[in-house]
């Protein structure tokens, strides 16, 4: 479904992603692991069209994505919940969610998806008219995920969705990801919480300073010594 090939992305003259190749198959949950600064967020930002490629290519459902402007990429069916949430803080919960559905033209579908997000995260529904900036970090994270779901994406990219969440909330998020997957949404997940991510993932890629070091199935990586040492806190 998504193929990233030899992708190089730079900030100014500094390459942050130095030629990575990976694929995401339809219906899979794929996770990108890596230390801070490895280039995970940069990869997602490039796929969303916020950053231009220096070289390489991105293909989505058989069509080239690199060079397509960001707002058109949403229309193609890719949504992102960015790192650090990036909510429209002075807007209400509902306005944030509606902006997530900005590119959609089916008001009835938008309304039912809105109800669905409120169903998934009741606190958002109860306080739908309050400004997003007034919510706790975890609640804001729910809103960021809900907002990304509102575009009805085929591919949903989540950048550290469990950041700042309690273990219970993290579980809720992981369950939500499972549900979405069972509904046919493909997921590209960037996580600090490697064990949670890997137990969900069909496939994992491990990035280090702009390169993919190795990849395997989620299960295999959970048992991999290198992963255990670097990301699972085992010695």
């Amino acid at each position: 479904m998504l193929e990233v090939k030899d992708m190089v992305v730079a900030y100014g003259r500094v390459n942050a992603v130095k030629g990575i190749t990976f694929t995401v198959e339809k219906g899979q949950v794929v996770t990108l692991l890596g230390t801070n600064g490895a280039g995970k967020s940069t990869t997602l930002r490039a796929i969303s069209g916020l950053l231009k490629l220096v070289s390489g290519s991105i293909t989505f459902e058989g069509q080239r994505l690199d060079g397509v402007p960001a707002h058109k990429i949403v229309e193609r069916g890719i949504a992102q919940s960015p790192e650090g949430r990036r909510l429209f803080r002075r807007m209400s919960v509902e306005d944030n969610l509606k902006l997530g559905a900005y590119s959609r033209k089916d008001p009835a579908g938008v309304r039912s998806d809105l109800a669905r997000v409120y169903d998934l995260f009741p606190v958002l529904g109860e306080r739908r008219h309050e400004a997003a900036g007034l919510f706790s970090g975890g609640e804001q994270q729910m809103l960021a995920i809900g907002r990304a779901m509102m575009s009805q994406p085929k591919l949903l990219m989540l950048d550290e969705p469990s950041m700042g969440l309690s273990p219970i909330m993290t579980q809720t998020i992981m369950r939500t990801i499972r549900t979405l997957q069972s509904e046919g949404v493909t997921i590209l997940l960037v996580e600090q919480n490697a064990s949670a991510a890997l137990s969900l993932a069909d496939r994992g890629y491990v990035l280090e300073v702009g390169h993919i070091m190795f990849s395997d199935t989620g299960r295999a990586l959970l048992g991999d010594d290198r992963v255990k040492r670097a990301y699972l806190g085992a010695s």
Partner: protein
């Protein structure tokens, strides 16, 4: 006391003119953090566009007030808007957009350059358009029967019909803007873009289009101000955008740059302060020559004691 009311009316009508222009500074700033110093000239070309529309209509002179108010005036406003919006969009496309990622100083200097450029283009070339008068000197603005030069009395207070037009136009525009920003999709996209442009793009918002609509909305209001200015002062000239633009910019900062309601309030406050200062400050400091001084003194005071402006600037918060 009558003098007070008289000056209040004068101040409000002058302030409404500033406010109509100030909105353009503030919406553009709110979205691209650019002080568009050429916006005064957008107001100027709007006035010239309205004038040209009148010429194209055959320079009608004698007509009933109904024909003037419901035919000529709307036609001139629309003509002025077409010109000012086109020029604003061209400047955005050709001058500002290529500099979107350049250091802040580059578009600012460009704006000053465009301002001079537009003045000179009008001065040198307006008269070369068939049918148009030479614009090196002030041009008498067409008389809108029933508004231009007409006034009525409330007690001893004289109210110019053009003042009523300006204040009414501002009121209508303010309601329109509120509706646009809060109730239309493009308006919501504008607010989102002003808060966080990258995330707006992740929502599927075409940020280039949002920026264009900000320039267009500001230019349309500036054109209305151009017509109001023509009816108020009876003539227009290629330099008219300079001081009016500077005052409107002051009004925008006064109200809190980036804040649309702030631009409206800032404009009105500035107009009233100017007209009150020339009446109630004794001695030479209250003479008309000092009017602009008081306007900028007010600006300095606000910047010292309330730098975010009267209603608070919409500072972009990127989480």
């Amino acid at each position: 006391m009558d003098l007070f009311w008289q000056q209040l009316i004068n101040g409000l009508s002058l302030g409404a003119l500033y406010a109509l222009i100030a909105v353009g500074y503030t919406v553009v700033y709110g979205i691209v953090q650019l002080i568009n110093f050429a916006h005064g000239e957008i107001f100027m070309v709007g006035a010239f566009g309205a004038f040209a529309t009148w010429v194209v209509m055959g320079s009608p002179k004698q007509m009933s007030w109904q024909a003037a108010v419901f035919g000529l005036l709307p036609a001139m406003i629309v003509g002025g808007m077409i010109v000012s919006v086109s020029v604003a969009l061209l400047t955005e496309r050709l001058a500002y957009r290529p500099l979107r990622d350049a250091p802040r100083l580059a578009p600012l200097i460009t704006a000053i350059g465009i301002s001079v450029f537009l003045q000179e283009v009008v001065r040198l070339f307006f008269g070369t358009i068939p049918g148009m008068p030479d614009a090196k000197r002030a041009i008498p603005f067409p008389t809108v029967t029933g508004i231009s030069g007409r006034s009525f009395q409330i007690g001893t207070v004289t109210v110019q019909n053009s003042a009523v037009f300006t204040i009414a136009a501002l009121a209508v525009c303010t309601v329109f803007l509120w509706f646009f920003v809060n109730r239309t999709k493009t308006g919501r996209a504008m607010v989102a873009t002003s808060q966080d442009p990258d995330t707006a793009r992740l929502m599927g918002i075409n940020v280039d289009r949002v920026i264009m609509s900000a320039f267009a909305v500001g230019a349309a209001l500036a054109a209305i101000a151009g017509v109001a200015h023509g009816m108020r002062y009876g003539n227009i000239d290629f330099r008219m955008g300079f001081l009016a633009g500077l005052k409107a910019f002051t009004a925008a900062v006064l109200g809190g740059i980036g804040n649309i309601n702030g631009a409206v309030v800032g404009g009105l406050v500035l107009g009233v302060v100017e007209s009150m200062a020339t009446t109630f400050i004794p001695g030479q400091f209250g003479s008309p020559a000092w009017k602009d001084v008081w306007a900028f003194v007010l600006l300095i005071l606000v910047l010292v004691f309330r730098p975010q402006g009267l209603l608070g600037a919409k500072v972009v918060d990127r989480a």
